[in-house]
């Protein structure tokens, strides 16, 4: 991948120029889908955009010292990590990539949740600290399954290149891996039934309690970009191998949209679980996915 393609992927497609409107669109789809399932009309189409602009125009409280600097830094770091993760997705055919870009993608996908943990603690609000502790526990729980699922798919192909994984022929292992990732996504995106870190009204807004104005706008944007990156990862793994670029882009968008609808339906249909139930669910019930995936990956390696 040379500099021009890297910049084009980061800034145009599937990077910022596509990802930021897509993030707002997905946030709207989530709210609208929940509203429709509850029998309401829901927010207008431009709502996440208006929210973002409005938050940019609000004042922030005076903060001094290192804590104030860090509170301004975490949301920016989260946005850039999420945008980088979207830019790495191998959406277009023959888009390049490099050996080991899967590991970079996983790290960038993990960075926003690290930022949220740090943000809650550096805000020094008791609710922020509770939210951060919950996020930390949650991330330890779901990441076991999430990482094992992706690593087993990669291990069966003997490569850490995203492009090789995207062009994977359909196999039981791939379906198992995608199912395991889908189980982890509600926790990764803080959706019901695993909306524990930002549990609205329960611990105020969790790690975001003290953030206001442009900082909060950046958090909203990073949340939207996380939506695009996480659903896009599922879409690239599930998409069939296509050589026409516009068809590949279209399939990517449609599959991402389908995943968003699925997750919103789950969020609207469920209530929030307690933290111990959630941790038990991930360690006891879904670990079977991970064990199955990793053992079938090992079997495939022995056979090949």
């Amino acid at each position: 991948m040379n500099l021009t393609t890297a910049l084009a992927r980061l800034l145009i497609f599937p990077g910022l120029l596509f990802a930021v409107p897509a993030a707002w669109f997905f946030l709207w789809v989530e709210r609208k889908a929940v509203a429709l399932m509850q029998g309401r009309i829901g927010p207008p189409f431009m709502q996440p955009f208006f929210d973002f602009i409005k938050l940019l125009g609000k004042t922030t409280p005076q903060r001094s010292g290192v804590a104030g600097l860090l509170m301004r830094l975490w949301p920016l770091l989260a946005v850039s990590a999420a945008a980088g993760a979207v830019g790495l997705l191998p959406v277009l055919p023959s888009s390049g990539g490099f050996e080991g870009d899967l590991i970079l993608l996983l790290a960038l996908l993990e960075l926003p949740s690290m930022c949220i943990i740090a943000a809650g603690f550096s805000s020094r609000s008791i609710f922020g600290e509770i939210g951060s502790a919950r996020e930390a526990v949650l991330s330890v729980s779901y990441n076991v399954v999430f990482l094992l699922a992706i690593v087993s798919i990669a291990a069966s192909q003997h490569t850490f290149r995203l492009e090789a994984l995207a062009h994977l022929p359909a196999s039981p292992l791939q379906i198992l891996g995608i199912a395991a990732i889908l189980v982890c996504l509600p926790a990764k995106l803080h959706l019901n039934p695993f909306s524990l870190p930002n549990a609205e009204q329960e611990i105020y807004s969790g790690p975001m309690t003290e953030y206001a104005g442009p900082e909060l706008a950046m958090w909203e944007l990073s949340h939207g970009l996380e939506w695009v990156a996480a659903t896009g990862l599922v879409a690239t793994l599930a998409a069939p191998h296509l050589t026409t670029w516009w068809l590949a882009a279209l399939v990517f968008v449609v599959l991402s949209f389908a995943v968003v609808l699925l997750l919103s339906a789950l969020a609207a249909a469920t209530a929030r679980l307690a933290i111990d139930t959630t941790v038990r669910f991930y360690w006891q019930c879904t670990l079977i996915f991970a064990v199955l995936a990793i053992s079938s990956a090992l079997l495939m390696r022995f056979r090949s």
């Binding site: 929210d51 609000k58 409280p61 609205e200 206001a212």
Partner: protein, 186 residues
């Protein structure tokens, strides 16, 4: 006004995030505020979101007749809401202290402590009146932020409040009560 300012004005008008605060209310108005978010009234169509933290909010919705204990909390929370902001007094209690008038445990009405932009009278007000009040507050907030104007308090008419709002304006009653209270107290 250039394009960015017009966009900002529209965004402020169309994205009011609420923080709800109870200053000793009987819970009647609180229930009606939550009812305005339910499928029947669905305030989210206007972009309304009930936020958990006052830092995120644009509009502070206060119910209750402002008890002595609540005064400092109200001032703290009002300070925590980041500008531009607006205040909606929901119910007759924050406007006039309602049936609790002259109680020695009260420090009401609300506009003795913080500036109030919209009064929604009623005991309790209907959810559609609350939605209207929030929409007006969002408009006031957007205009004030754009033009730096001082806007007089507004009263939402069309509510069936017979006790203290015969003329349909609790704001006037609140102002006169505040004047009376300041005369009595040294």
């Amino acid at each position: 006004m250039n394009l960015w300012n017009r966009l900002m004005c529209t965004s402020r008008r169309r994205s009011p995030w609420l923080f709800h605060m109870n200053s000793g209310s009987c819970n009647g108005c609180d229930i009606e505020l939550v009812a305005s978010l339910t499928p029947r009234y669905d305030a989210e169509q206007l972009g309304v979101r009930l936020e958990g933290s006052p830092r995120h909010a644009d509009i502070l919705c206060i119910t209750g007749p402002v008890t002595r204990n609540a005064v400092q909390a109200i001032k703290t929370v009002y300070g925590q809401v980041c500008g531009p902001k607006a205040v909606v007094a929901i119910g007759s209690c924050p406007a006039t202290t309602n049936v609790f008038i002259d109680s020695r445990t009260l420090e009401g009405p609300l506009n003795r402590h913080i500036p109030v932009d919209v009064f929604v009278p009623g005991c309790p007000p209907r959810p559609d009146a609350i939605v209207l009040g929030v929409a007006k507050a969002a408009e006031i907030l957007a205009n004030r932020a754009a033009k730096k104007l001082h806007v007089e308090p507004v009263c939402v008419p069309g509510t069936d409040c017979a006790t203290d709002c015969a003329s349909g304006c609790a704001a006037k009653a609140a102002a006169s009560h505040a004047a009376a209270a300041s005369e009595v107290q040294p």
